[in-house]
């Protein structure tokens, strides 16, 4: 047989086996399906949580108050200088009047206390964001020693607790996703091996009539791959479509935490790569492994 007809033969046999082993194929495809569905769902949640934590930490900023007698121009000049620093993403200058208005809004019911001031008693403020939110405290310390700067409010304890929270949650999330990934991989290859295990006598017979190992292996590999692909397509379609619908409905309403969802196209593409990749890889692996153990006849 030439190469081409061999390949065709093994493909044909693999397909046939899938059909012939009705119940067993069905059982393993559905096991792969639900496993990947849970994995996919988790990945969707994790990707969005990741985006969310990024968004939250991006809100972190440093407030620097200049000396009470520093002018707005001085503020602008300092801002200009800060903007050129490598760690700093943005600097916003808040004039004395703007600061006053903000304070009035903020302190609602104490407004009358502030009303008595004709001109603002507040200094010029600079609102600074670090490029890397985790470097915020470092930036604050640098700013603290700048000329004309009086006090710097870096919300140290808030930032620390925020980052600690985010990092604990992220660690839990990553551990969980990895645990689930490993589990799915184990379950899928295990299922495929069980599917093929029930045919060990057939493998024995094939060997006894003179089939070479690879000749036996290929159809099983094709079969494992098909189980993997079939098992990946269903959750992919359901999750992809479901996410698309949810995304379309709510992605532009500022959500409860005013955070946007990961765009549906990008997410579905990633999901497809992961689910199909795992399905195919483990199908092939399951096929190879399960046959291996029975080839020693």
């Amino acid at each position: 047989m030439d190469m081409m007809s061999k390949i065709l033969r093994h493909l044909r046999e693999g397909f046939r086996n899938v059909l012939r082993n009705g119940w067993m194929t069905f059982a393993s495809v559905s096991a792969v399906t639900v496993t990947l569905a849970v994995l996919g769902l988790t990945l969707i949640l994790a990707m969005n949580a990741q985006q969310m934590s990024k968004y939250v930490t991006n809100q972190v900023q440093v407030q620097a108050y200049m000396h009470p007698n520093a002018s707005e121009q001085a503020g602008e000049q300092l801002a200009q200088k800060l903007r050129s620093m490598p760690d700093i993403a943005s600097v916003q200058v808040i004039s004395k009047e703007a600061g006053m208005n903000e304070m009035k809004q903020e302190f609602g019911q104490y407004q009358d206390i502030l009303e008595q001031y004709k001109s603002s008693p507040l200094p010029v403020q600079l609102v600074i964001k670090a490029k890397d939110p985790s470097k915020t405290l470092q930036v604050a310390n640098e700013v603290r020693h700048m000329p004309d700067i009086d006090t710097v409010r870096d919300g140290k304890s808030y930032i620390k607790s925020l980052f600690r929270t985010v990092s604990v949650l992220r660690t839990i999330g990553i551990v969980f996703v990895i645990a689930l990934l490993v589990t799915s991989m184990f379950l899928i290859s295990n299922t495929i091996r069980m599917t093929i295990f029930s045919r060990r006598r057939e493998i024995e017979i094939m060997k006894l009539v003179g089939a070479a190992n690879w000749f036996i292996r290929w159809p099983f590999i094709v079969e494992g791959m098909l189980i993997g692909v079939f098992g990946a397509v269903v959750p992919l379609v359901i999750l992809g479509y479901g996410y698309h619908v949810v995304y379309d409905r709510i992605h532009d309403i500022p959500l409860i935490l005013s955070i946007n969802l990961v765009s549906s196209g990008a997410l579905i593409a990633k999901l497809a790569v992961v689910l199909l990749g795992i399905g195919i890889l483990l199908g092939v692996w399951g096929g190879v492994m399960s046959v291996r153990k029975f080839l020693r006849v």
Binding site: M1, R20, M206, L208, A212
Partner: protein
Amino acid sequence: MIEMQDVWKEYPNGTSALNGISVHIQKGEFVYVVGPSGAGKSTFIKLMYREVRPTKGHIFVNGFNIERLKDRKIPLLRRSIGVVFQDFKLLPKLTAAENVAFALEVIGLSQRQIRRRVEDVLTQVGLEDKMNMLPSQLSGGEQQRVAVARSLANNPAVIIADEPTGNLDPDTSWGIMRLFQRINDRGTTIVMATHNRDIVNSLRRRVIAIEQGIIVRDEQKGLYGYDE
């Protein structure tokens, strides 16, 4: 063609199946292996295509040194031998035709050649009507004939048959024997374990009698020889 030198076989559970067997079978010979149930006939036969490995001794089949045979080469040995297994060993999910075809696919024939040859051998064993049946849809004797057809299919140099007529009526058995004889006339070596006294006594060939794991008799044109 087939040479055994002081071969012993003890199974892992401690059963001694063969206790020092030496035998030389020439190319083109027709050999009956006879003996009581549990004597070691099947073990003797299984050694030839390396389903079991000897505990001691040397075996050469078709130029292959069975002890030294690399795993990669085992398929080559087995393709040079057509085996009718005592328990048939048909693939349960393949039809009669596909079972025979499988033995031809492994040697790499083209689909067209395979189809022709499959039809040919299944007709020779009288199963032209049952080609597309699964083993589970065949009678015991029909399954045995599929196994016979498969063993012939790729024109092997040696045919080894373990009680190939055990499930067949005398008429059909004789049909199979005539087939083996024709193939033997063309130069194929045939080794056949059997309990069929009529066949052995009518179609006189070399008889190797095994009892309790040793060869107790080895005669040219022998008789079955177990008469009350």
